[in-house]
């Protein structure tokens, strides 16, 4: 049983006009096995929250804390955070030309597990996970994310989730750009990992669509850099009906 604890998190980015504050005190606690949906309009700071937890150098933490089972996450390097059990499925996965998916996955698994996976079981493990996500085997030889369609990039993110088995996953708009079939396949992948590993999930989304496939335990409304309302799954139904207007005009 693990706990990811975010307390009073304040984050700024450097712009031409100095620092701009984006996160204005975010409080959120996620426990193993829980799924928390973070829902909010574009530009409200959802990706900033995700990237800040993962340690992207672009974001400056100006206040608050993030701890994983009491250990200071913000003091860790990016790779240490991943090794500690955090995983970020990115809204815009990055292309890495010349680095094959196979090589990348194996290098990542080696780093996370602390030893190189046994070749024989590893090959089977990757094949099985790819098949479950309806990914063609030729993906393995392609360069990481290079020339992937939007849907292929998202499947590749969930493939990594399956293989790296983190304690907590932050899924940043994993549903965006997916057609109905791909959304179902990707969601099933997330549910599979959760069923097998007691994964805690921060599910960032703009739309309620994905919540039909991945059932949240809690829903948090995010606006202007902080959580403005919290509730159970019924809050998502209200957002579906009424949108974010009441949170953004206030």
């Amino acid at each position: 049983m693990s706990t990811l604890d975010i307390k009073g998190l304040q984050v700024s980015v450097a712009t031409e006009n100095g620092f701009t504050e984006i996160l204005r005190g975010v409080d959120l606690t996620i426990k193993s096995g829980e799924t928390h949906a973070i829902m909010g309009p574009n530009g409200s700071g959802k990706s900033t929250l995700a990237y800040s937890i993962a340690g992207h150098p672009k974001y400056t933490i100006t206040g608050g804390s993030v701890t994983l089972d009491g250990v200071d996450v913000l003091a860790m390097s990016v790779d240490e955070r991943a090794k500690a059990g955090l995983f970020l499925a990115m809204q815009y996965p990055v292309e890495v030309p010349g680095v094959s998916v196979t090589n990348f996955l194996r290098t990542a698994a080696t780093a996370i597990r602390g030893e190189a996976p046994k070749v024989r079981t590893w090959v089977g493990e990757v094949k099985e996970a790819m098949a479950a996500l309806h990914m063609d085997t030729n993906f393995a030889e392609r360069s990481v994310n290079e020339g992937f369609s939007g849907g292929e990039k998202k499947r590749h993110e969930i493939l990594q989730l399956e293989l790296l088995k983190p304690k907590f996953a932050i899924l940043d708009e994993t549903d965006s750009g997916l057609d109905v079939d791909a959304l179902r396949i990707v969601s099933e992948g997330v549910n599979r990992v959760k069923a097998n590993s007691d994964l805690g999930i921060m599910l960032i989304t703009h739309y309620t669509r994905i919540l039909r496939y991945i059932k949240p335990d809690f829903v948090h409304v995010f606006a202007a850099g902080k959580i403005v309302e919290e509730g159970g799954p019924e809050l998502a139904d209200k957002l579906e009906e009424k949108g974010y207007a009441e949170y953004t005009t206030a």
Binding site: A54, G55, H56, P57, S77, V78, D79, R81, A82, K83, F87, L88, M90, P93, V94, E95, V96, P97, G98, V99, N103, F104, T107, A108, A111, I112, S143, V144, Q160, L164
Partner: protein, 361 residues
């Protein structure tokens, strides 16, 4: 003092061709008061069927192309013997022919080699440059009609080596010249991979990779002379630089002459700066004298390390230095993969990795 070079004017550094080169470091190769010793510097690593190597007097085997390169002119003046490598007509050589350097003393030397590919022959030649030579070196390639040569030139020189080289191909009708130039070693390397054509339907593919660290000067000056109709050329050079005062120069001159209708050419140079204090010069130059062409283009980019790539890999638990190595390997993979030798690929990448570690990049 040689009488041959009595009216020779050493470059001052103001000449277009020499403006990037640190002339103080050329080890006498361009110095009128220094004689160059003639040397047969290339040998076969073993014997190969359909490949013949012989030594001939320089007078009996004159150069097949004109050159205004001063290092080449000087080398030609001092040469007594040249090395001739002949690939038999209609032969198809299944394994790469490996050439090694020999007789290099570390004093200023001059060497010339002619590689003749017979009609419809098919071969791959790998030249391994190692050691600490000070060498003015010319290699010419005479590609007979229908021949196909892949020439891989590996500059894995020692830290003190000075190499002023010309690698010039004359490509005749329906012949194909593929060159892969890899420069990772040497104190100063200035290479001129150049091609001209002597018949239509001919094609050149010039690929290159260079990696410079602390104080290295690695210069590649390409020249493609589209002097016949319906010939094709592709140029793709990639370089990475790390450490203080690493300097690379890439010049890509492509001339499409008035008679060169149907020319199809594209040249590309990409540089990756891994640390401050390194400098990459990149000068593509396309001159077109006819509009009746299939295509002509060029591109040149010089950029810093992509932090987003580094973040992506690190966010999967991969430590920063491993991630950097992956990205650099990835950057070079396109070129190195063309060598089609896992041994050479590993050897080159290990060298690049260890030098990266040394400069702390």
């Amino acid at each position: 003092m040689s009488t041959l070079t009595s009216n020779y004017l050493a470059p001052t550094g103001r000449e277009e061709a020499w403006r990037f080169t640190p002339l103080a470091r050329v080890g006498g190769l361009l110095d009128a008061s220094t004689d160059l010793a003639s040397v047969n510097s290339i040998k076969l690593s073993k014997s190969y069927a359909d490949v013949k190597l012989s030594h001939k007097s320089a007078a009996d085997l004159p150069a097949i192309s004109a050159s205004d390169d001063l290092a080449t002119i000087r080398a030609r003046e001092f040469l007594k013997e040249v090395t001739h490598i002949e690939i038999a007509a209609n032969s198809s050589i299944s394994e790469p022919v490996v050439l090694e350097r020999t007789n290099l003393t570390g004093a200023a030397q001059a060497s010339r080699t002619l590689i003749s590919c017979g009609v419809n022959s098919h071969s791959t030649i790998i030249l391994q440059n190692t050691g600490d030579a000070i060498l003015a070196d010319e290699i010419e390639f005479d590609l007979a009609p229908g021949s196909n040569l892949t020439f891989i030139s590996l500059q894995e020189w020692g830290a003190k080596a000075v190499h002023l080289g010309r690698q010039h191909a004359v490509i005749s009708k329906d012949a194909t010249f593929n060159s892969i130039v890899v420069t990772v070693g040497g104190s100063l390397v200035r290479l001129l991979p150049t091609v001209e054509y002597s018949g239509p339907g001919s094609s050149a593919d010039l690929q290159g990779l260079y990696f410079a660290t602390d104080g290295q000067h690695l210069e590649h000056r390409l020249h493609v002379d589209h002097n016949v109709p319906n010939a094709k050329s592709r140029v793709n050079y990639k370089g990475a630089l790390a450490g203080d005062k690493a300097h690379t120069v890439w010049i890509g001159d492509v001339y499409i002459r008035a008679n060169a209708e149907g020319t199809d050419t594209y040249e590309l140079n990409r540089n990756l700066l891994l640390s401050d204090g390194a400098r990459a010069d990149s000068v593509p130059n396309l001159e077109i004298e006819t509009g009746e062409i299939v295509g002509a283009g060029h591109a040149s980019t010089t950029g810093r390390f992509d932090d987003e790539q580094l973040f992506y890999l690190s966010s999967r638990g991969i430590p920063a230095e491993v991630a950097r190595r992956l990205v650099i390997r990835g950057f070079f993979a396109e070129i190195i993969g063309k060598i089609k030798s896992e041994d050479i690929e590993n050897r080159l990448m290990e060298r690049i990795d260890s030098e990266l570690a040394k400069v702390g990049a």
